[in-house]
């Protein structure tokens, strides 16, 4: 069965290509797909007739209990046959109806996709899979309704159908989840059915019932969600015939029938379904007479039929389910046929307005025959199949205890009005005098006759010989719905009884109504203002409200101001952890001691420098002052590092601070002064201050909370013990960087390389000119630099080399090397530095990264994990200890080169950038 659905989807995807190749023959060719599927499903008839069900499972997301499991019993088979059978006729018909349309390939795609989704829906055994198919039908029907998307109202109608059924779909999903909880955790329908009694008695029954029914009602256009269906008539007529009469709107009915055995029979079930069904029946029947558009009349009569089906399923006993299943088949035949007839009439005459049509039977005899047969079936007159269906429905309503007169009365009224509607769509256009129409009518082409005639003929055939309809099919469908074996006898003549009498009354009243239609329509038209205040108005208000809400929250949260985003982020980062910390304050901060006496004098000095420096940066109006204060903070932190046993950190920090000053100064003189810049005032400034202080307080509290937790030194101890033993290094920090955690370091130097290239591109895109000038500078600086650069480079190499055992390493060495070149550039200019360096700094980046990568590959070659250190021992002879050489050293050289390459790339990029006078200071903020 998964294959069947897969074939449908594959055919859908191939349809556009096929249409390009075959043009008008594509419809005939594609019709073979549903036809073959029809035959395939028909082969299951004997099995299902035995009362057996076929179950096939393909695991999908087994860890969540979601499988593509399919379950074929009588009910599923009935729907599958209807879907594929009607599908065949519709595809053929669409080929004629939309002949020459530019997007017909796309149309076939959506139609076949819909068919596959519908098949999946009626076959699925897993609730989640069922939901996915359910949403797929909504989605593909959106595409089909919106097929003529150039028209604004068409787009609105498609959106309305999608939103209403989509909302129902979400309710359905929630209902399914609750159902699964109530049923013991499984999503398989076949397993849930065994839990029916548990589910009906479960505390969640009412919520899950309400949600599932909400989903079904939106899909099947029950009051008050009926309004989307007439609007969906904006779709091309074959779509209306297929989706909005025979299949998609029946998906809700299918699901109600499917759940009848599991959820049905309770007071809530009977009352909700029968009341909604009865109201829908009446409303649809009345409104059908208000309209003169053939498709609108048919759409409202479809609502009547859907109401009837809901009512019958709601009554939930044997006779009513029998009637529902038979009426479902009846309705699919005649409504499909009549929609197709309406399409043909529209196609041939150019209008669907009943008032402008008449006497078409003379020019379109075959179409008229189909219309006549389908119309008789719709009116429920013998010897058509519709009569059988209506008799059964009357019998069911008469047989239900507890509603005495109400049910039969409602049914008679609705059916009488349906008889009148049948007259409107059949007698008016096809009988009487031939009228002039926008186009001169001819008989429709063969492709557009097959569908109407086939469906209408089926109604006649099964009416005359109800026994021909596989008794087993109807029987097993009823059995599957009710859950216990049912025998069923269908016949045209049940003898003289109350139901027959009601039929006679119905027909008489219907004919009378039809004869007085003009007066009835006038009366209904005067009530138009009332309909305009109906549920559709609620939809419009809700939709507008939703849009306004979205607009409002967008303006609040997504207003385009970066600073506003940042404020929201900071505020949340302050408030959420802040509240959590506050709630657990007693436990978290019990151990915090204020032993100020322990703090040493020089620690106080550093603290004062850091606090003072921070405040100065915040308050500074001069950029140079701010840079100087930043330096104070940075160097003080570096001194703290030394004091607290972290010489590597201190060295790194010192060097970085120095280089940052160089880079900042390079940028500074290219940017306008800060003092000229507008500053925040008043409330905004206070808000920023509050946020900032809050953020600081939360971080301090977090730090104290972490410190209050007992320390687990496991990882640190491991590194300390293994440093010499397995990595031959005595500087544990460096060993961690180049050996234990080398992959992290590799990632970090990659980031540096990317940042450097990014900076290079930023300056070079937009063709800023090369600036090749060198100017004489201070003689003292130049002379000193000549010595210094050699010393600095030597020092950097020395630190690189000894880093594995003493403070130093690739990062520190690299930063010193970068500083050396920067100094040289300051003294002699960049061009001269370039000559000393000989290669582009970007080459250093690449070589460095490559070295680091290659150093890791040795381990792979040795069959170990990437970046595991590989060592060789070089004997030095004599008393000297043998020299250990390893890939971590190579890795560190890579780090060294990347750091130098990064710094020099940035310096070069900035140096080549033109000064502010050259920048287009066009539209400064005013």
């Amino acid at each position: 069965m998964l294959l069947a659905i897969g074939i449908g989807i594959a055919a859908a995807l191939l349809a556009p290509a096929l249409y390009r190749g075959l043009r008008e023959w594509a419809g005939w060719a594609l019709a073979f797909v549903p036809l073959c599927l029809f035959v395939y499903f028909a082969t299951f008839l004997p099995v299902v007739a035995e009362g057996e069900a076929v179950r096939q499972v393909t695991p999908w997301v087994p860890s969540f209990g979601v499988d593509l499991s399919f379950y074929l019993d009588g009910l599923s088979l009935l729907f599958a046959l209807l879907i594929t059978g009607l599908g065949t006729l519709i595809v053929v018909y669409a080929g004629g109806y939309l002949k020459g349309d530019a997007h017909l390939g796309r149309f076939y795609l959506s139609l076949l996709l819909f068919m596959s989704a519908m098949l999946g829906l009626v076959l699925a055994d897993n609730l989640i899979a069922l939901f996915v198919f359910w949403e797929l039908t909504s989605f593909s029907s959106y595409l089909l309704i919106g097929y003529k998307h150039e028209d604004e109202t068409v787009r609105q109608s498609a959106l309305q159908a999608l939103l209403v059924t989509g909302m129902g779909g979400l309710a359905l999903l929630a209902g399914f989840v609750l159902l699964s909880i109530a049923g013991g955790g499984t999503f398989e329908l076949s397993e849930l059915r065994a839990q029916s009694d548990v589910i009906r008695a479960h505390g969640l029954y009412l919520p899950l019932f309400a949600l599932i029914v909400l989903g079904c009602f939106t899909k099947s256009a029950q009051v008050p969600f009926h309004f989307w269906l007439p609007n969906a008539m904006a779709a091309p007529t074959p779509v209306s015939a297929y989706l909005h009469s025979a299949t998609m709107v029946k998906a809700g009915i299918y699901l109600l029938a499917r759940f009848d055995g599991m959820l049905g029979g309770t007071t809530a079930w009977v009352w909700t379904l029968s009341v909604a069904g009865a109201l829908t029946m009446l409303l649809g029947a009345v409104l059908a007479l208000r309209h003169t558009d053939l498709k609108k009349v048919l759409a409202y009569s479809t609502i009547t039929a859907l109401g009837t089906l809901t009512l019958l399923i709601g009554l939930s006993f044997e006779a009513s389910i029998k009637a529902a299943i038979v009426f479902l088949i009846v309705h699919s035949f005649y409504k499909g046929a009549l929609f197709l007839v309406a399409g043909s009439v529209d196609y041939e005459t150019g209008t669907r307005d009943v008032l402008r049509l008449g006497g078409l039977r003379r020019v379109m005899p075959v179409t008229a025959t189909a219309a006549g047969l389908a119309g008789l079936s719709m009116a429920g007159l013998p010897p058509l199949f519709g009569f059988v269906g209506k008799e059964l429905a009357y019998k069911a309503k008469l047989g239900f205890d507890g509603a005495d007169l109400v049910l039969p009365t409602v049914a008679v009224v609705a059916n009488a009005l349906t008889v009148a509607a049948a007259g409107i769509v059949v007698l008016r256009p096809f009988f009487g005098a031939l009228r002039e129409t926008p186009r001169t009518a001819r008989e429709a082409p063969l492709s557009m006759l097959l569908g109407p005639l086939g469906l209408a003929g089926m109604g006649l055939l099964f009416g005359l010989l109800p026994t021909l309809l596989p008794r087993t099919l109807v029987g097993s469908a009823v059995t599957a719905t009710l859950g216990n074996p049912i025998e069923i006898e269908l016949t045209l003549w049940y003898g003289l009884n109350l139901a027959l009498l009601l039929s006679v009354v119905t027909a008489g009243a219907g004919v009378l109504t039809y004869l007085r239609w003009d007066a009835v329509r006038g009366a209904l038209a005067r009530m138009d203002p009332l309909w305009r205040r109906g549920p559709e108005r609620g939809y419009a208000v809700a939709l507008r409200g939703l849009l306004r809400l979205a607009e409002g929250q967008t303006r609040l949260l997504q207003n385009g101001s970066l600073r506003a985003y940042l404020r929201w982020l900071v505020a949340l980062a302050v408030v959420l952890p802040g509240v959590a910390l506050w709630m657990h304050a007693d436990a978290l901060f019990a151990g915090v001691t204020t032993a100020w006496a322990e703090v040493l004098p020089h620690e106080w000095v550093l603290a004062v420098l850091i606090v003072g420096g921070s405040i100065t940066v915040v308050r500074a109006r001069s950029r140079l002052l701010a840079v100087a204060a930043l330096g104070v903070v940075g160097f003080s932190v570096a001194l703290l590092f030394i004091h607290l046993g972290a010489p590597d950190l201190a060295m790194t920090q010192f060097l970085v601070e120095t280089l940052i000053v160089v880079i900042v100064l390079l940028v500074l003189w290219r940017l306008p002064a800060m003092a000229r810049d507008a500053r925040d005032r008043g409330a905004q400034r206070v808000a920023n201050g509050v946020l900032a202080v809050g953020a600081g307080a939360v971080v301090t509290a977090l730090a104290l909370a972490v410190l209050a937790v007992p320390f687990d030194p496991y990882v640190s101890t491991f590194f300390a013990e293994e440093s010499v033993a397995s990595a031959y290094g005595r500087n544990i920090v460096n060993v961690i960087l180049v050996d234990f955690r080398a992959l992290d370091t590799l990632g970090e130097i990659t980031v540096l390389a990317v940042a450097a290239l990014g900076a290079y591109v930023l300056v070079h895109v937009g063709a800023l000119p090369e600036l090749p000038r060198v100017r004489p500078q201070s003689v003292i600086l130049r002379t000193a630099t000549r010595f210094m650069i050699a010393l600095l480079l030597l020092a950097s190499l020395f630190l690189l080399w000894r880093g594995h055992n003493e403070p130093g390493g690739g990062f520190i060495g690299g930063l010193i090397g970068a500083g050396a070149f920067a100094l040289y550039a300051i003294a002699f200019g960049l061009r001269a530095m370039q000559q000393v360096l000989r290669v582009s700094p970007r080459v250093l980046l690449g070589v460095g990264l490559a070295l680091a990568l290659v150093s890791g590959l040795f381990a792979l070659a040795a069959g170990e994990v990437f970046l595991t250190g590989q060592w060789i021992t070089v004997p030095l002879g004599g008393a000297a200890a043998p020299l250990k050489l390893g890939t971590p050293l190579l890795f560190d050289i890579g780090v060294y080169l990347v750091v130098i390459g990064f710094t020099l790339t940035i310096l070069r990029a900035l140096e080549q950038a033109p000064p502010p006078s050259a920048a287009p200071v066009a539209s400064s903020a005013s």
Binding site: E551, T554, R555, Q558, N559, G560, R563, L566, A595, I610, V611, S614, I615, A626, V633, H643, L644, G645, P647, L649, T652, V656, V662, I663, V667, P672, D677, D680, N688, A692, V693, V699, T700, L704, L707, P713, F719, A720, R730, I732, V733, E748, V751, L752, G758, A759, L762, V763, V774, L781, L830, I906, L910, A913, P914, P915, S917, P920, S923, S924
Partner: protein, 150 residues
């Protein structure tokens, strides 16, 4: 001692956050620098910073002799220092480029070049001249530049 360090982290954080909420690009970058210091100090502190010997193993021994400082946060912070250096350097070039292209360092003024939410809300799409706003900057005339020392 830990309390003092935690308070210092808080001060650095507050100053950094205040600065990144400012309008001038340079002040935002200064904020980034302070935030970098704050985070480094935070990691270092919660790694149980204490007045201890550096995590070095003397020649001839295979494990550290006595209690040494925790090496793990040091390794983390060392790379973090270099990474924040990279971030700040890149941000500075970016600030320069933004100024060269747009002629302003005011973040509030930068926003004006993007379609406003009001435009988005009224007709559901950006204004028609959106592409025009993205027009590339006119290349400035070649101007003799000075080198690093200036």
């Amino acid at each position: 001692m830990h309390l003092l360090l935690a308070l210092l982290v808080g001060v650095l954080f507050a100053a950094g956050v205040y600065l990144i909420l400012q309008r001038h690009l340079l002040r935002i970058i200064f904020g980034l620098i302070l935030l970098g210091n704050a985070v480094n100090l935070l990691v270092f502190t919660v790694g149980r910073a204490a007045r201890l010997a550096p995590p070095l193993i003397p020649e001839g021994m295979t494990v550290p002799p006595e209690v040494t400082a925790n090496p793990l946060p040091q390794a983390l912070v060392l790379t973090a220092i270099v990474i924040s250096f990279g971030l700040v350097a890149f941000a500075l070039v970016l600030a320069y480029r933004a100024y060269a292209t747009l002629g302003t360092t005011d973040t509030d003024a930068l926003e004006n070049d993007a379609p406003s939410p009001a435009d988005l809300a009224t007709n559901g799409r950006a204004p028609a001249d959106e592409d025009a706003a993205e027009a590339s900057p006119s290349s400035p005339d070649p101007v003799p530049s000075d080198d690093l020392a200036r």
